[in-house]
Amino acid sequence: MSPRLRWRKFVSGFMLTMTGVCALVAVSVLFLILGYLAVHGGASINWNFFTKLPVPVGETGGGLANAILGSAKMLLLATIFGVPIGFFGAIYLAEFSGGAIAFVIRYAADLLNGVPSIVIGIFAYSLVVHPFKQYSTLAGGFALGLMMIPITLRSTEEFLRAVPRALREAAMALGASKWKTIVSVIVPAAYRGILTAVLLAFARVAGETAPLLFTALGNQFWSPGWTHPTASLPVMIFTYALAPYDDWHRQAWAAGLVLLVLILVINIVARAILSRGIAVPRT
């Protein structure tokens, strides 16, 4: 073996090992995050955390119950607002349209998807908070819903398109109208993928903080109804982490752990649903 060949082989082995190291580093970050939060926040996840309201500054023993409920309410609103628009819009794109109109709609969705979340916050403020002179759960839900729309729309469209033509043509051959085909054949066939899309969109906005700063503000009590400011998990994590009180830090870590576990579980479930479902052809 010539020296040059030996060198090249060495370089090959070395560089490929390095790429393995890179992959290892990247993946281990995830476990580092989970581990840190578990160690520091795990102990603070107790009954208090889930059921109590925050106590006055400097005192201990409070919880984040109102933040958990506030986040839940806003996410519910976001889903109610964002998912139908994404879903029905995707049906339009996949089944009814083509050409220029479809291009414009897809382009708009991609644009919306790329908007930084802080800018969505500005938009929601000027559209919902400012005219009605009220910070509210509604405004927060609206902002989060906006962010769910493009994800739901594009993914649903892809899964609808992936339904084999044979199914569509069979339905039509049996005399079904387009709409009936969609409702009874195509959507059920793409059901898993659509559910996955919704879950992933949900997980994405569950952790968003920036848009909530200008829309939901915050609340140390329960937020009555839907038109009042409300606490939320991500904003509480932000506020507590920056403060100097150790008790707040512990709660921030605990909240971070809860939020992260929730998001990761949703992601895992979504992928599991998908992998058992449709056979989407892979290149």
Binding site: N219, F221, L242
Partner: protein, 342 residues
């Protein structure tokens, strides 16, 4: 599966609606300076009035002024009184005015984190101005070590910490610096949000305290209670009579003595660099901003009720949190002014 989801949706929606009228919810926002006090007060007041929730968000005095002017919150809170332009802007926007109600007396203290130094440092006016102007950069500078003979100050760079957002605490600090340093007055000026020559920005008193606590060689200003609650060393400041005074209930009350006698009708007054041998020079009132007119009578009565309580029973909670009580003359005057809120 779909039916279950639908059912859950309906239940949650109903829950939300049913919750809607169970409590009157009032929202206020503003200063972080009195936040520990307000959060205690609103919590206690809620215990006494279960149907009333006063939700106070500490976003900074600048935010308080802005949001109450916009009308997105029911009342505001600030430690830098609204200036004439801001008052006029409010009047123009709403057709009626907005009133200041002092709540407590507090103090900005110079907090620091110098490795190896746990003693109280003495700071002259020039030292503080120099540090914040960026002219004094090391801890062992003669301007700092001079009044602190016997203490071994390291030759480390000073890390200045200030507020990143519009803050009444900043207003108090810069108001004081403008009075004691001509250079500061011309170069930077006083305000809730200034063009800082040096330093790191942190959001809220909470974050400034957190940053100082975690950053060696740092120096910044926080409200007294934040330094105490976090066991942070804070220094004495030289007042106009030449004495080095530490911020506490007595020295802050002494600073307000003169103002108590001559309180203007709109309660906007500055008590920084107050005369008096025992006065702490960086003291201040802090105010609630209450609109002069409310379209919702229940909200108006709720807020007036709170202010009345605050001026009476509420004052008994202040000293535990190191805020000084309002002078009696000011309380009497405020009760009268409360009638102007319609």
């Amino acid at each position: 599966m779909k039916r279950l989801a639908g059912f859950l949706l309906v239940v949650l929606a109903l829950a939300g609606v049913l919750w809607a009228d169970s409590a009157l919810s009032i929202t206020g926002a503003g200063a972080t300076f009195p936040y520990p006090m307000y959060s205690k007060w609103f919590d206690e007041y809620h215990k006494k009035n279960a149907n009333l929730e006063i939700n106070y968000q500490s976003i900074g005095s600048g935010g308080g002024i802005k949001q109450v002017t916009e009308g997105t919150v029911d009342f505001g809170a600030t430690d830098g009184p609204m200036n004439d332009d801001q008052l006029k802007a409010y009047q123009d926007k709403h057709g009626f005015g907005i009133l200041h109600f002092p709540t407590v007396l507090g103090a900005d203290v110079p907090a620091y984190n110098v490795p190896g130094v746990t003693a109280e440092l003495n700071f002259t006016q020039d030292a503080i101005a120099g540090i914040f102007l960026g002219k004094i950069t090391k801890w062992n500078d003669p301007a700092i070590s001079g009044p602190n003979k016997g203490l071994n100050l390291p030759a480390n760079d000073i890390v200045v910490v200030h507020r990143s957002e519009g803050s009444g605490t900043t207003y108090i600090w810069t108001d004081y610096l403008s009075k004691v340093s001509d250079e500061w007055k011309t170069k930077v000026g006083k305000g809730a949000s200034v063009n800082w020559p040096v330093g790191l920005g942190a959001k809220g008193n909470e974050s400034v305290a957190g940053t100082i606590k975690n950053t060696p060689n740092s120096f910044g200003y926080v409200e007294l209670i934040y330094a105490i609650q976090n066991n942070m060393p804070y220094g004495r400041v030289r007042n106009s009579s030449g004495a080095f005074v530490k911020a506490d209930l007595a020295s802050v009350t002494a600073a307000a003595a003169g103002a108590a006698k001559n309180m203007p009708d709109d309660f906007r007054v500055s008590i920084t660099d107050a005369p008096g041998k025992t006065a702490y020079p960086i003291s201040s009132f802090t105010w609630l901003l209450v609109p002069a007119k409310f379209s919702d009578a229940t909200k108006r009565d709720a807020i007036k009720g709170f202010v009345k309580w605050m001026l009476a029973d509420g004052q008994n909670y202040t000293e535990a949190l190191s805020y000084a009580k309002l002078p009696k003359e000011v309380v009497a005057k405020e009760l009268k002014a409360l009638n102007n809120v319609q």
